[in-house]
């Protein structure tokens, strides 16, 4: 086997040194009755070429050659080859969690830079070394708010990503958290009056997403004011982090939970991505996940270490702030390299392109009779439109033109059964947008 660096003679030599007659002897502590008598029934072994061919064949069964207008929490963005070149350096790829700081300064400094970038983006004071993804980051942010306030009710905007809400419910079920949902108003944003009516002294957090699941950008000030007046924390979830290149950051929030997939990570059928928790400095000891901090070595040189580990499971065990052990270090590194490449100008220009392209697409769609924008609130690169016909039927037609149509909002919002969530990023060309809108038009005109 090509991954195993031993010759048969060396194996024998090692066995002899141990004083074992056969390899079987080393497994003698496993009772004979429970040892497998026959080889595992697995496909393979495959050569490297065959492994590649297997996955190429699977790739060909997917959507290659199709243009997508799907976002809904996973976005297609340009990724520089530089990012991948760095990620594939074995020193980053094949290293462990940087517990041994002296030989992990590369990872530690990169995490420190990541934390800094996340603070700058979100307008918060501290950010952790990353979480699994946006959905678990949002859930962990709520659990953090529960620890900070000692309260157990959480008010969640219905316009928070449906799957984020599902994850929150799964975690909440057994931790005593009571999750209640808040409606949205006609312009697509949170119903602040409903929020005010629901807020009482027992609410630990108010959770809103912005841009929310419908693409609508929320105004934080009134939400923060209402939440804070009741002593609750404001948790802002950001599923499309690139929006922060041009949209004001949630500086009024107490905790920001973000999905960073847009920064250098491929859609990859849903993961791995990179979650972020950023917050006010006063809450840092209640924060879940790893944190890198700056310090000095015994010669006085600047260096970095994992710090405030007394919050974590390997020290605190059942009293830890979270059971999470890993972060998504390599994905956080991708985001760090990607954002370093984009820089201050690049992220603004990229965000502007998204804004312009999405606006252009909306304009083209609105020219089609019967198509209208669902919500009046400003949006970034994603918006909802109402169609005069079922979105599923339209999408089935679009597939014939090799177009993967927009997200069907009726899937998660029965009241929006004729509404579609359209996403257009910088990767979508004008020609593709025009082809898409023409295909929508013809799908709406074709007889049922």
């Amino acid at each position: 086997m090509r991954y195993l660096p031993k010759s048969p003679a060396e194996r024998q030599e090692m066995l002899a040194a141990i004083g074992a007659k056969s390899i079987e002897e080393l497994f003698s502590s496993i009772p004979e009755a429970y040892r497998l008598k026959k080889p595992l029934s697995l496909p393979g072994p495959l050569s490297e070429t065959e492994v590649i061919q297997y996955f190429q064949a699977r790739g060909a069964e997917n959507s290659t050659g199709y243009t997508r207008f799907l976002g809904a929490g996973v976005y297609s963005h340009l990724r520089s080859v530089v990012t991948d070149a760095i990620l594939q350096r074995g020193e980053f790829l094949t290293s462990y969690t940087p517990y041994q700081a002296e030989i992990s300064q590369g990872t530690l400094q990169a995490i420190f830079e990541f934390q800094t970038l996340m603070c700058q983006l979100t307008g918060q004071e501290v950010a952790n070394a990353s979480m699994y993804d946006g959905s678990t980051a949002t859930t962990e942010a709520v659990l953090m708010a529960e620890r900070v306030t000692g309260r157990e009710r959480v008010l969640v905007a219905r316009s928070l990503h449906p799957e984020y809400r599902e994850v929150l419910r799964t975690y909440a079920k057994n931790s005593g958290l009571k999750v209640e949902e808040l409606p949205y108003i006609a312009r697509g944003t949170l119903d602040v009056n409903a929020l005010k009516a629901a807020l009482r002294e027992d609410v630990c957090a108010v959770v809103v997403q912005s841009p929310n699941f419908f693409g609508a950008i929320e105004s934080y000030a009134p939400v923060a004011e209402a939440a804070h007046a009741a002593g609750a924390l404001l948790v802002v979830a950001v599923a499309e982090a690139l929006s922060l290149g041009i949209v004001k950051p949630p500086a009024e929030a107490d905790i920001v939970a973000m999905e960073g997939q847009s920064f250098g990570l491929a859609p990859s059928y849903g993961g791995p991505f990179v979650g972020v928790i950023a917050s006010r400095e006063t809450f840092v000891r209640q924060m879940p996940g790893r944190l890198a901090g700056q310090t000095t070595d015994s010669d006085g040189r600047r260096g970095f270490v994992l710090t405030l580990a007394t919050r974590e499971q390997h020290i605190r065990r059942e009293k830890a702030t979270s059971n999470i052990c890993t972060n998504q270090a390599l994905c956080a590194l991708a985001a760090t390299v990607h954002l370093s490449l984009l820089g201050k100008e690049g992220i603004r220009e990229l965000a502007e392109q998204n804004l312009a392209k999405a606006r252009f697409a909306l304009g083209e769609l609105e020219k089609i009779p019967g198509v209208r924008r669902s919500f009046a609130a400003p949006f970034f690169n994603e918006f909802a439109v109402e169609l005069p016909r079922s979105v599923k039927i339209v999408n089935a037609e679009l597939l014939k033109s090799k177009i993967v149509g927009p997200y069907v909002l009726g899937t998660a919002y029965p009241e929006l059964s004729k509404h579609a969530l359209v996403c257009v990023t910088e990767t979508t060309t004008r020609v593709e947008i025009e082809k898409f809108t023409a295909a929508v038009k013809s799908a709406l005109e074709s007889p049922l």
Binding site: R11, T64, E102, E113, E163, V167, V247, F304, T326, L339
Partner: protein, 518 residues
């Protein structure tokens, strides 16, 4: 290298160090932060020309929403980005550089082809919400991986959704909870051995359970008589790591399962150490009801400096109704689909079905080995025992039962000279190795937990043994040399206490916070 030679080299180094300190910051030994390289107007990224009419962002978003710019973001060129991160990378130790014997972490070779296939068009490019008829390739990958992992574990059903081991543990306990709930009451307690990984108790609490510790016996095994007393109808499950964190196979698993089952409790197995069992024995055959696998351990997906991982959970039939959503199913004609309609499901533990890219890599690994996975397990156990044999005597072996894939020594001998496991670990760095796991498991005072994995050649194992023996000698002759290690790294021991006392968790421009600058 002889001890005296090393000592001499260190003295030379000490004489040089003043000169090194004064060297230019442009050497790759003192790379600054990316923010410190920033200068307005530099850029490393050009976008394609905008092919739609440009917009005025203020007008579009409204002045109240528009952000002028991201304050503090770096402005650098491409070569600076490449050099910056390449330099940082050289400050890391990695499997690609040498042996990484971190016990319980299974730092094995991460095959490069796995990276290649995870990045293929049609694999990396796919969106989780695209129609299932356009995702058959992705679904077939998941389906085959499920089948392989079920064969390896001897279980009946599996979910690939959990993002990492700890989330797998949570998923497993939520399944157990749902099962008990269905039978009348979720029960109160989860039993966890004192040798367990810290995630076990932390997870149990999140799943809404009280943790009750169970003590290991003198052999490092579960004390069955005591267990019998502890298992009541309040106990939901026992979370057991097998082999234990001592690297010892838990011989009486079927009996343990029986004790639990007789009171209606379930047996959860932490599969962190599956690298000792794959192809040899199957947890499902031993009476285990549910377990998670760390694909970033046994199945070779890269640790990447701390993630991403993946923590699939395999279970017996009785837990299948509670699987997280969606569940992958086969329809007529071999078409695969995701089932979102399961009333008894515990719900979702992560958006979008899991770390697909990690799952791809794990399948690539399994396909490369096929049934030959057994050989990897054998070599892993061979390496651990080979190292144990050669280091016994030089280091104290607190538990003498046969070792599986890892061996746990203690620093009892070296303590007499004032040297502890952390000192030895740091000294190992000077010899070119990553340290073993220190101070874990908690039941061994001053533990040295060594897991070589199957990826090390005899030659590399011999180097390691030589280094460990040499350090044992140094401890006796020149303990100071060990206690002040490492001596050859870019930075020396770092002030962790200071870092925690006055946390600096982000860079700020020098004018605002001078201590963040160099």
């Amino acid at each position: 290298m002889e001890t005296s030679e090393i000592a001499e080299a260190l003295q030379r180094k000490a004489r040089m160090s003043d000169k090194i300190k004064n060297a230019s910051r442009h050497t790759n030994r003192s790379e600054g932060l990316i923010f410190e390289k920033s200068s307005p107007g530099k850029r490393a990224f050009d976008l394609p020309l905008l092919d739609v009419p440009p917009l005025d962002a203020s007008g579009t978003l409204g002045e109240s929403h528009r952000r002028a710019g991201v304050e503090g973001f770096p402005e650098v060129s491409e070569i600076e980005v490449i050099r910056h991160f390449t330099r940082l990378s050289t400050w890391n130790y990695a499997i690609d550089l040498g042996m990484y014997p971190l016990g319980s972490c299974t730092m094995k070779y991460n095959p490069r082809v796995n990276e290649y296939v995870a990045r293929l068009d049609g694999i990396a490019t796919e969106h989780p919400y695209q129609p299932q008829e356009l995702s058959q390739g992705c679904l077939r990958i998941l389906w085959l991986l499920e089948k392989c992992l079920l064969e390896i574990t001897g279980m009946d059903a599996i979910t690939l959704q959990p993002a990492a081991g700890a989330q797998g543990e949570l998923t497993g306990l939520l399944l157990i909870r749902a099962y008990h709930q269905k039978h009348g009451n979720p029960r109160k307690k989860v039993l966890i051995p004192d040798s367990a990984h810290g995630t076990n108790p932390a997870t149990a609490v999140i799943a809404g359970y009280e943790v009750e510790n169970i003590k290991s016996n003198a052999d490092g095994q579960v004390d069955i008589a005591k267990l019998r007393e502890q298992v009541t109808e309040d106990v939901a499950a026992l979370m057991l790591t097998n082999p234990s964190t001592l690297g010892i196979y838990e011989q009486r698993i079927p009996e343990i399962a029986e004790v639990l089952h007789s009171k209606g409790a379930l047996l959860y197995m932490d599969g962190a150490n599956m690298n000792a069992l794959a192809g040899i024995t199957r947890p499902g055959d031993l009476g285990v009801d549910v377990m998670h696998l760390n694909l970033h351990k046994t199945f070779s997906t890269p640790h990447g400096g701390g993630g991403p991982g993946a923590g699939p959970v395999a279970m017996k039939k009785i837990l299948e109704p509670f699987l997280p959503l969606p569940v992958l199913i086969e329809k007529d004609g071999g078409r695969l689909a995701q089932d979102f309609q399961r009333k008894e499901s515990i719900g979702r533990v992560r958006a979008f079905g899991g770390n697909f890219g990690v799952l791809v890599r794990a399948l690539a690994y399994i396909l490369a080995y096929g049934p030959g996975l057994r050989q990897a397990t054998e070599d892993a156990v061979l390496n651990a025992n080979y190292i144990r044999k050669h280091l016994e005597g030089a280091y104290d072996l607190p538990y003498t039962r046969p070792s599986m894939h890892e061996v746990v020594f203690s620093d009892a001998i070296q303590k007499k000279h004032g040297v502890n496991t952390m000192d030895i670990a740091k000294r190992l760095i000077d010899y070119g190795f990553h340290p073993y796991t220190t101070a874990f498991p908690l039941i061994v005072s001053g533990a040295l937990m060594i897991e070589p994995t199957e990826s090390e050649s005899k030659e590399e194992c011999d180097y390691f043994i030589e280094a460990m023996k040499s350090i044992a000698e140094e401890v006796e002759k020149t303990p100071e040399l060990v206690k002040t290690a490492p001596h050859t790294t870019r930075v020396r021991r770092l002030d962790e206490v200071g870092a925690a006392r006055r946390p600096i968790l982000r860079w700020k421009p020098a004018t605002k916070q001078s201590e963040a600058a160099d």
